[in-house]
């Protein structure tokens, strides 16, 4: 579909020709930003799992003191609007030179993913049989060994779901990228598309294919794992 066809005088309800060149042009322009987005999302996702998987195990089964306080704090952070984090992180990050770095963006994105991941993983682990872990410990495994050899394998479906969500949240993030990244070479996909609506009017032939392409990981995820999403979301949200 061409821009003239989209918004022109002789407009049709259904596009008459599909302009493949819009799509290839969008892919070409977006590719460097896809790399940034992939890097940020992948590192944020792995980092989130590294922090939250042991934490969920510790909180649910080891019952340390202060766990109720931590759980309440997680629920409260879910209620906080992004702006509560964006302003302090921008000010602090500009003092320690983390503005305009992908590491800064990753850390900022993790303020969204970590609380969410702990809530979902804790709910998941509550339903797993703790006897398996105890059995491993009777057999002489230390806490760390039991965690790696028993807890992680039996939690795998939950870890995969949470890992994918922790990938998709940074992937779709706009507010942190918009505030922390100004250098065009470091811009993730969403920011490049946002900037396409500049002062020179909107480049629809780039914006619409680009926006649709941005949704590809989410669509893939839904096709591959819709069953896990339904189970994971309902467990995390209601219990």
């Amino acid at each position: 579909m061409t821009p003239a066809e989209l918004f022109g005088i002789n407009q049709t309800i259904w596009p008459r020709h599909f302009a493949v060149e819009n799509w290839s042009r969008a892919v070409e322009r977006l590719w460097p930003h896809v790399r940034n987005s992939l890097l940020v999302s992948a590192v944020a996702s792995v980092g989130t799992l590294l922090i939250t998987a042991p934490a969920a195990y510790g909180l649910v089964w080891k019952k340390p003191r202060g766990r109720h306080l931590l759980s309440s704090f997680m629920l409260i952070t879910q209620m906080l609007p992004a702006i509560v984090f964006v302003i302090p992180l921008f000010i602090v990050f500009s003092k320690i030179n983390l503005v305009n770095t992908l590491s800064g963006l990753i850390l900022a994105d993790m303020t969204f993913t970590v609380p969410f991941a702990v809530i979902m993983l804790s709910a998941y682990m509550k339903e797993l049989p703790y006897e398996l872990v105890e059995a491993a410990m009777v057999d002489g495994a230390g806490p760390l060994r039991a965690f790696v050899m028993v807890v992680l394998p039996i939690s795998l479906p939950g870890l995969v779901t949470v890992g994918i969500f922790s990938f998709l949240i940074p992937w779709g993030d706009l507010i942190f990228a918009l505030s922390l990244i100004t250098e065009s070479g470091l811009q993730p996909l969403t920011l490049e598309l946002y900037k396409a609506m500049g002062q020179y009017g909107i480049d629809w032939a780039f914006l619409l294919p680009g926006s649709v392409l941005t949704a590809i990981p989410a669509v893939l995820f839904v096709i591959l794992a819709s069953r896990f999403i339904v189970a994971g979301v309902t467990r995390g949200a209601i219990k």
Binding site: L6, V84, I87, P115, L174, L208
Partner: protein
């Protein structure tokens, strides 16, 4: 824990202490993350709301304490009130329609039909996709010369200034948000309905209860805990909405579509008055708390 001690026959005080510490070892990275990247920014934001923090103070490095001046300035700004009313209306209408559509779809999905799982997966796409995708597509649909006006044109109406006039632009953003948010309501209500035991419906059917009677007398009351959770989560998420409105309208035209989130962002990053933006952020948190308490109260 007891068995773990047995597995460690040395039994000394030292080994017991080591075992007691292991939970803290597991949660340590998480606790550090919470302190540094969650608690510290929240405290910083709260502190900032009582300080004068603008471009000048940002450069000079000190941010003088000025009490409630930021709050007073925010409350004196008519755009703040517009944004507050908009946020409440945005949340109310979004949730009303998201919940209704989600509920009706969930009812529909209790029946079996071909390609059901495929349709279920398809319905999840608006929710897991980046908000930016939906925002840009709706921006295109609502464009003056876009497909929606084209349809109205065929009916002999319009063109309507969907995004160029606040009277139209605000409902347009709500429509887009309903589209993004209904799948979340749908999944939770769908799962909630599935957990209601089938025999209750069977018994009611034998007693001659109509479909609608069964919905109002069984589904509604038994789904209530789930509904409350859905509505509260919906409120939390909707008050937080930023990307959608920022992309579709940027709060305009004439500041008419600002939500508190976009207004706070504009004050922070366009006007560069961080202190006042932090004050608005604190007021937003209070709003979420009030709305949620109100819902809990209404449910009683």
């Amino acid at each position: 824990m007891m068995k773990a001690t047995v597995a460690n026959p040395s039994g000394s005080i030292a080994s017991k202490a080591r075992l007691d510490l292991s939970p803290y070892f597991f949660i340590l990275p998480f606790v550090i993350f919470c302190l540094v990247l969650l608690l510290y920014p929240v405290a910083y934001s709260l502190a900032l709301s009582f300080r004068q923090a603008t471009v000048e103070t940002f450069v000079s490095g000190d941010m003088p304490f000025n009490g409630f001046a930021q709050y007073q300035a925010a409350l004196a700004d008519p755009i703040f009130w517009r944004a507050l009313v908009n946020t409440i209306l945005f949340a109310f209408f979004s949730i009303l329609f998201q919940f209704t559509i989600g509920f009706l779809l969930a009812l529909l999905f209790q029946a079996n039909f071909p390609l059901k799982n495929f349709c279920l997966a398809l319905l999840l796409i608006p929710w897991v996709s980046p908000v930016l995708t939906a925002a840009n597509i709706f921006k295109g649909l609502f464009n003056e010369a876009g497909p929606i006006n084209r349809v109205f044109h065929i009916a002999g109406l319009g063109p309507f200034p969907w995004l160029a006039d606040p009277v139209y632009a605000f409902p347009s953003t709500i429509v887009a948000n309903i589209w993004i948010g209904f799948p979340f309501n749908f999944i939770l209500l769908y799962a909630g309905m599935r957990s209601i035991p089938e025999d209750i419906y069977e018994a009611a059917k034998i007693d001659g209860a109509t479909f609608w009677k069964r919905v109002t007398h069984i589904t509604f009351p038994m789904l209530q805990p789930v509904s409350v959770a859905v509505l509260m989560l919906g409120t939390i998420y909707t008050v937080k909405v930023f990307d959608l409105v920022w992309i579709m309208t940027g709060g305009g035209p004439a500041n008419g579509t600002h939500l508190l989130s976009t207004y706070a962002y504009q004050v922070g990053f366009s006007v560069l008055n961080f202190g006042q933006a932090a004050a608005i952020a604190t007021l937003m948190v209070l709003l979420v708390l009030v709305l949620n308490l109100l819902q809990l109260f209404l449910k009683r």
